[in-house]
């Protein structure tokens, strides 16, 4: 969030010398605010003002990066409160916590299953982003060994949870560089944690109690003054209501007030505010929708991880670029060569609505999804992305003419007008006009022959 022209004006010499090419300093400030001029055009601006203006042009929520290549986590740098205002950019990292008090073999088995977990959704592979390893034993040597054991299994990023400097350093050494977040610096140990964060160039989380944001801001400023730039915030609020309030405050402070001391991503621990695994998942869902950067779970259960990964994919879909499903010939139920063949577009919402109704009808069917470049039926038709030629091409491209033998294709009722044209494109085929609304598909399919 940039400064306004008036805010910039206050930082200028106010001499109206005109050497920048503008008639007044205020006019120059307005140009700067509109990004139509460079500050370097002013020969007299002070060093302090330069620093202040540079800081003001930094993103309101700092981007934090952990890990590299395929396992890179990037969080922060968000620009809006609501996804419809533009989009949410950086998905929160979902991680699972393990303690160094587990038997080592059990710990390793958990690391394997968590790091290896993958699930596919609309053609995209979803995964857990990394692990949080906690020094519950209190022993630095044990912690180092457990982190090393986990690192031998996976290159994914870690959150290292330890209180003492010795344990944290052992963990850092075992984890390798550039792939760990230190958790956490609090009132008692922030000097040590800041020193380690600086020495190993690792981001560090600061933690306050029960949503005390003033304490959190002070801690973050102290850590920053010790030379650490990459900071993550734990406001310490744990329940559904308190967590929502604290995370909303933090997002608003960063975006609306440009409040630098709290302009960092947030880490949450939903398990600490929950009485059961499902409650943990509900809290995690809140944090996905409302503003977390790292979410550390205490349970690893595919039955809740899968819905949470799906929710994250939903919330972080760019509303300006609706998600598309891969074009192709989809089997619903177990269709046979004589089962009905329907065609629709690859706009995800259209696909989900149509496939849901076909599935609900109980009639096994072939659903041909043509590449309409993510447009719905009518929009695609109007834009020439879902016309007779495209449908005929898709029939051949995806082998719908091989998999079915009745040579009948059902088109959406909304594009009934193209049926003649489509019969010309598909010689020997009968084009049937289906219902206009997806909800009428089950009734239609029951009478199909």
């Amino acid at each position: 969030m940039g400064l306004s022209g008036l805010e910039i004006y206050k930082l200028l010499p106010k001499t109206n010398c005109k050497e920048c090419g503008q008639p007044t300093c205020l006019a120059f400030a307005m140009k700067l605010a509109a990004k139509q001029a460079e500050l370097s055009a002013c020969p007299y601006v002070s060093e302090e003002s330069k620093a202040a203006l540079a800081a003001a042009s930094a993103p309101p929520i700092r981007l934090i990066t952990l890990g590299s290549d395929n396992f890179k986590i990037e969080v922060g740098n968000e620009t809006v409160m609501f996804r419809h205002e533009k989009t949410f950019y950086h998905e929160p990292a979902l991680m699972v916590r393990l303690k160094d008090t587990l038997p080592l073999s059990e710990f390793e088995a958990h690391v394997k299953s968590i790091a290896g977990y993958q699930v596919e959704r609309v053609g995209i592979q979803l995964a857990v982003n990394g692990l949080a390893i906690e020094n519950a034993s209190g022993d630095a040597g044990v912690f180092g060994n457990y982190v090393a054991a986990a690192r031998a299994i996976t290159p994914k990023p870690f959150v290292l949870i330890a209180k003492s400097k010795a344990a944290m350093e052992a963990g850092l050494k075992a984890s390798g560089t550039g792939n760990s977040l230190l958790y956490a610096a609090d009132e008692s140990n922030w000097q040590d944690m800041a020193a380690l964060a600086k020495q190993y160039s690792a981001p560090v989380a600061v933690r306050a109690d029960k949503g005390d944001l003033a304490a959190l801001a002070n801690l973050a400023e102290q850590v920053k003054s010790a030379g650490v730039e990459d900071i993550v915030l734990d406001p310490g609020a744990r329940g559904l209501g308190d967590g929502l309030a604290a995370l909303t405050h933090l997002r608003r402070l960063a975006l609306k007030k440009n409040f630098r001391a709290l302009g960092y991503p947030i880490i949450t621990f939903p398990g600490e505010g929950a009485n059961s695994e499902t409650e943990e998942a509900i809290l995690a869902a809140e944090h996905i929708a409302k503003y977390a950067g790292f979410i550390v779970l205490d349970h690893f259960d595919p039955a809740s991880i899968y819905p949470l990964l799906t929710l994250r994919q939903n919330i972080y879909t760019d509303p300006q670029k609706p998600i598309q499903v891969s074009p192709g010939l989809y089997e619903i139920g177990e269709p046979k060569p004589e089962s009905p063949l329907l065609v629709t577009t690859n706009f995800s919402l259209t696909y989900f609505t149509v496939s849901g109704e076909v599935e609900g009808s109980g009639v096994p069917s072939w659903l041909l999804v043509a590449d309409s470049e993510g447009m719905s039926v009518l929009t695609g038709w109007a834009a020439g992305k879902f016309d007779a030629e495209k449908i005929a091409k898709s029939v051949k491209q995806f082998g719908a003419d091989q998999k079915t033998k009745h040579k009948k294709i059902v088109i959406p009722g909304a594009v009934a007008a193209i049926s003649g044209e489509l019969e010309e494109e598909l010689p020997g085929w009968e084009v049937l006009v289906g219902p206009r609304e997806a909800i009428d598909i089950p009734a239609y399919l029951k009478n199909w022959n």
Partner: protein, 322 residues
């Protein structure tokens, strides 16, 4: 120098309308209690900047026929009561439902194709066994909806039931029935802010007081369009709070119907191992859809699984505590 933090607060100028469902004997009905939703003067659960006088509530879906097409998870969880809508409604009340959402599914032409007479009998039986306020849904087929909803409205005169769905194509009939028998309507539009506003305008032009209108923005389940519903609801609620009168209706989401229609909830055969345990997964699917839409402004969520009801009631209580 210590940093001081001033908590930013939004100044909202509008409020969501309050809508009361049900009527007690003092009010001309027979309900043991009424349920009021709406009245918010801030975004969901931001208690520090405005009022949320009524918590969101849970309606439990009850059908007037054995739902053989439902997920086995649901059939097992409810058991015998599924054969009798009155017993089913009573059970729903026992497990903590705030409202009963009775769906007259048997009226569907593809099913038993029952008519007004059966609808009246079911509505009366359910009203007789539960003291909760009632929502009555038609089977979702325009002609039959009109037939059974008009009959239900008449049969439940004085009970302040909500009639659903009232859509672009049938709103005249449904609104007329609500006017004639002092009932409420559920105005349903397909995931679009302007269509939602427009339908509210049409309804209000027929002189139905807006304190009798709930709006259903159309629910997309988790993984099946949830993000569209979520954003349309956030936009509608922000519009309501900034004073746009025709968006100020409380919102109802048919979460159970949508979540239990998904493959994730419905089946367990031939699904990837990464989907996890079927029972946990299917309940999570409903619960996470509901919890997320409550964060976006849902005032009523219609659920199907008994365990989801308990979990969402607890979620709402936690979010209301402050």
């Amino acid at each position: 120098m210590p940093v001081t933090v001033e908590i930013p607060k939004e100044k909202w100028t509008g409020a969501v309308r309050e809508v009361k469902l049900g009527a007690t004997s003092a009010e001309g009905g027979t309900r043991a209690r009424t349920v009021t939703v709406g009245g918010e003067t801030t975004l969901p659960f931001l208690h520090y900047e405005g009022q949320m006088p009524h918590p969101p509530v849970v309606a439990v879906e009850v059908q007037d026929r054995y739902p053989a097409d439902w997920s086995k998870q649901l059939l097992d969880a409810w058991g015998e009561v599924l054969n009798d809508p009155a017993a089913w409604a009573k059970k729903a009340e026992e497990i903590g439902a705030d409202l009963i959402a009775l769906k007259l599914q048997s009226a569907h032409p593809d099913g038993a194709n029952t008519g007004a007479k059966e609808a009246v009998a079911t509505v009366k039986a359910v009203l007789a066994t539960t003291g909760l306020p009632l929502i009555v849904y038609g089977p979702g087929q325009a002609e039959k909806d009109n037939e059974v909803l008009v009959a239900a409205a008449e049969a439940a005169k004085g009970e302040r039931i909500a009639l659903g769905n009232c859509e672009d194509k049938n709103y005249r009939t449904i609104v007329a029935a609500a006017l004639a028998h002092d009932q409420l309507v559920i105005a349903k539009t397909p995931i679009d802010v302007n269509l939602a506003k427009q339908l509210n305008i049409l309804i209000s032009d027929m002189r139905l007081d807006l304190s009798r209108v709930l709006m259903d923005p159309t629910t997309g389940a988790l993984g099946y369009g949830l993000e569209y519903t979520y954003s349309v609801m956030e936009r509608l609620r922000i519009a309501a709070l900034t004073g746009d009168s025709m968006t100020q209706q409380p919102m109802i989401c048919t979460v159970g119907e949508e979540a239990w229609r998904t493959k994730e909830s419905k089946v367990n055969q031939g699904v990837p191992a990464a989907w996890g345990d079927w029972t946990r997964r299917s309940i999570n699917w409903e619960v996470i859809t509901a919890a997320t839409l409550i964060q976006a402004g849902a005032d009523i969520v219609v659920l199907r699984h008994p365990e989801s009801v308990a979990l969402i009631k607890k979620t709402i209580a936690d979010l209301m505590a402050h």
